[in-house]
Amino acid sequence: MSKRIVIHEEHCIGCRLCEVHCLVQHSSSKDIVKAYGGERSHLMPRLTVEEDGPVSFALQCRQCEEPSCVEACVSGAMHRDPLTGTVVCDEDVCVGCWMCIMVCPAGAIQQNLLGTRIASKCDLCYGAELPACVANCPNEALTFEVVDEKGAAS
């Protein structure tokens, strides 16, 4: 059974370290200084921190059972990885038509217009044991858990 990122908004302090580590993890250097230096021009975090007064949380792709983005994708870029079961965007195939942005009920996909135009979304740090945002959340506001079909963490 695949794992998902679970959001605990009552623990989130809005520090945005998740954004920083997401960006570093998806850089080619994996180095915070280089990622925020030369590489910054085409990188953006693949999650969104929402904040309203005292309430905040970090939102990544929800890994829907029946992903609307896959259904709507006209290029075939958005797909469920056959090995891991993770919903990911093949950035070599994506043309940036934004159909996925139109249908994602969580608003978890963003336009990345910094380099080649692509739909930018969480890939659960493909292949990593623990996604960078979860690993680096100081307050356990994000956890990585096996979740059953109804969405309940076990």
């Binding site: 605990h8 929800r62 709507a72 290029s75 043309v95 934004w98 159909m99 249908v103 969405g151």
Partner: protein
Amino acid sequence: MRAVIIGNSATAVGAIEALRAVDQRAEVLVVSEESHLIYSRPLLSHYLGGEIACSRLAYRPSDFYTRHDVTPLLETKATGIDVEGHRVLTANGAPIAYDKLLVATGGVPIVPPTPGIDTQGVFTFTRRSDVEGILAHLEKHGGSRAVVVGGGMIGIKATDALLKRGVHVTMIELAPRILGAALDSAASRLMTNLLTEAGVDVLTGNTITEIQSRDGRVCGVALREGAPIPADLIIFGIGVRPNTQVVQGTEVQVNRGIVVDEYMRTSAPDIYAAGDVAEAYDLVVDMNRTVAIWPNAYRQGAIAGAHMVGVETPDEGGVAMNAIEVHGVPAISVGNSNLEDEPGHEFLTDLDERAHRYKRLVLKDNRLVGAILVGRINRAGIYTGLIRHKIDVGASRAALMSEQFGLLSLPDRYRKHVVTGEGIEV
């Protein structure tokens, strides 16, 4: 069990993937008039515009058929159905027997009868062969001036692609405004301005009455109003009508499209229809109608494919929607987005004409029924979700139009549903 699918696009893929997810034994045949493996029609404009190579038109990897154990019968035109005998009749001769049949024949381009229509240099814009023809024509004869007939989605996509090729375009739309099926007058005006800024001549409330030729090739068009326009190329991008030809003369019930139930079953036994050819349920207008869009085609195909092998997942209905781009500015429309001054509806708008930015929400009984976003489109899907799930947004009304609009603006219970699914506390 042998499942036969007529058609080879999004609906076919949806059906194949859903069928194979639960069944490895059924024999699956895909019958297609075209000679290509599965490609993406919406990407044709990107190909025409030179943004992608023709190899990137593929909608699934090249091993798709083998991996899903599907037999493609390409260059095979289905001409009719023997409902009683459970056979598909083909132009090549040999009929194809089926146990379950999915009609996924899509749409055919609407081309109004016009004198000179057969002239060289006149094209439609729905198939790969159309684009190959346009590219060959441009290469052979050059061509710096095109006329695009139709100011809807297809016409806009063709125009945007031709602009990228450096071709001057005159767009001719019969209705008083472009994109009238999706956009209200303000959004339509924004898109018209964008086209004009890109150098397009947009003529509305007009139509072509004759295609003029010289040496057998297009040289211009005559208009209902105004002087003729010189042109090297004409593209009909008016839209499509359901391609119901294969069921003509059978008991399969057809209105505008083929009438289907929530499992995409037609009125004839063992025959399904899905995608642009089908008249399926639209949950915003609360009736069955044809809506020729990719996500509906895929989803309906999946419902039909699953049902063929005994998995009953009823369709909850589709929502009309589209994403387009003109001159680098994206626009998204969802649901009943083009309504104006409709009694019982409320309209929230935020327009910045100079920045090419617009947001418009249509509400009815405290529920969102339509949305338009131009320029800034991030998080558009949250609105789509609210429309699809008919969420009462009365308490969140002010936040709906905020630039910070996000899940935090939503009713708690719906937010938890979106973020985590049921049964877990955020």
